[in-house]
């Protein structure tokens, strides 16, 4: 018989953390059937200069998932509109459109994960990679001398970074924040971590 009316997906929302952007929606339930979904986006350029056209995301065309990774497509700091519809056989639902716009400048930024190591007299830090858009601002100081904080900007996260050579037996503290140049925003600082240099005075 004629296929029943398919409702548009509901509860459409964006999850955007650390410059990774995901569209999610509630599943459309049809007993005994597999419903598929297709997602499209529209940037400000398409609205103003390309007849309000929409662009399909092939990885999220006729997918059974209820989440779509938009990160590759939302790579400009302009307002985007997003929509998703359901498909069952030859029947398509109306489009469900995200309320309002999404601009990546609103992504939430979490503090970096870092590990501070005292290797003899060397103060080392290791930062977890957060993706190509990220730089890190690392602050470090000798405990008790918070007025003489030094800082380093790390543009690329290699494995371990040497921050300083420590005085024997002294304690040094480190904290860091992430920065995204493309949106000119920074995360809050990570918790401070302190380590103590080896006691003896020999440097090797």
């Amino acid at each position: 018989g004629a296929e029943a009316f398919l409702p548009a997906p509901q509860n459409i929302s964006i999850l955007s953390t650390n410059m990774k952007h995901f569209l999610t929606w509630s599943p459309v339930i049809v007993q005994g059937a597999t419903v598929r979904y297709s997602v499209e986006f529209q940037g400000e350029y398409e609205r103003e200069h390309a007849n309000e056209s929409w662009i399909p995301i092939s990885e999220c065309s006729l997918t059974t998932a209820t989440v779509c990774n938009l990160t590759e497509d939302i790579s400009a700091s302009v307002p985007y509109r997003l929509r998703v519809r359901a498909r069952l056989g030859a029947t398509s639902s109306p489009w469900g459109t995200l309320t309002g716009f999404f601009n990546r400048v609103t992504t939430s930024l979490t503090p970096p994960v870092l590990k501070v190591v005292a290797d003899g007299h060397h103060l080392l830090v290791e930062l977890a990679d957060m993706g190509p858009s990220f730089q890190f601002r690392v602050l470090y100081w000798k405990k008790g001398q918070a007025s003489r904080v030094k800082h380093k900007v790390l543009r690329e996260v290699s494995s371990v970074v040497h921050l300083d050579t420590m005085e024997a037996g002294a304690e040094y503290c480190v904290r860091a924040q992430a920065h995204v140049e493309a949106i000119n925003r920074s995360s809050s600082f990570s918790p401070t971590q302190c380590v103590r240099a080896r006691g003896d005075t020999s440097l090797w």
Binding site: Y45, P56, D73, A76
Partner: protein, 151 residues
């Protein structure tokens, strides 16, 4: 990155634009049969533009790409269309910043920059619109290289 175009300072992430362009460059340039002609570099390279004229030329060029080029570059390839959209939306964002410089009179258009842009338009209009648009898009790295020289 911050770009110094005469008295105008503009932040722009060329890395993202360049990554998007690099992903489709071969595809786009394969659609441009006329390899002997250039839109941006004929008769003179962009690198000849005086520093004081850079902002005006940049503003003209970003407007040129937004208003004239991208809309004629739609292809049958979804991946290419998505990358063009990313680049177009980034250009729109940068053009807005250049426009603000223009409004604040930090983007003066001298005779030379006006002449240079007239030449680019003449090169563009000398071809049919799709060929001209594809050729202009294929020359994006010429524009990005020139912009990065102002960093």
């Amino acid at each position: 990155k911050i770009f110094h175009l005469g008295a105008c300072r503009v932040s722009m992430s060329t890395a993202e634009i360049r990554a998007g362009f690099t992903a489709i460059k071969a595809n786009i340039q394969s659609r441009d049969p006329i390899r002997t002609l250039s839109i941006l570099s004929h008769p003179q390279s962009l690198h000849k533009v005086k520093s004081s004229d850079r902002c005006c030329v940049a503003h003209h060029l970003f407007t040129f790409y937004v208003d004239k080029v991208f809309k004629h570059c739609r292809t049958e390839d979804s991946f290419v269309n998505r990358k063009i959209s990313s680049i177009a939306n980034s250009f729109l964002s940068v053009r807005r910043k250049l426009g603000q410089c223009h409004e604040q009179n930090n983007c003066v258009c001298g005779e030379e920059s006006t002449e240079k842009f007239k030449q680019i338009l003449a090169n563009y209009e000398g071809l049919n619109v799709t060929s001209a648009a594809m050729k202009s898009l294929g020359e994006l790295d010429i524009l990005l290289d020139w912009m990065e020289k102002s960093q």
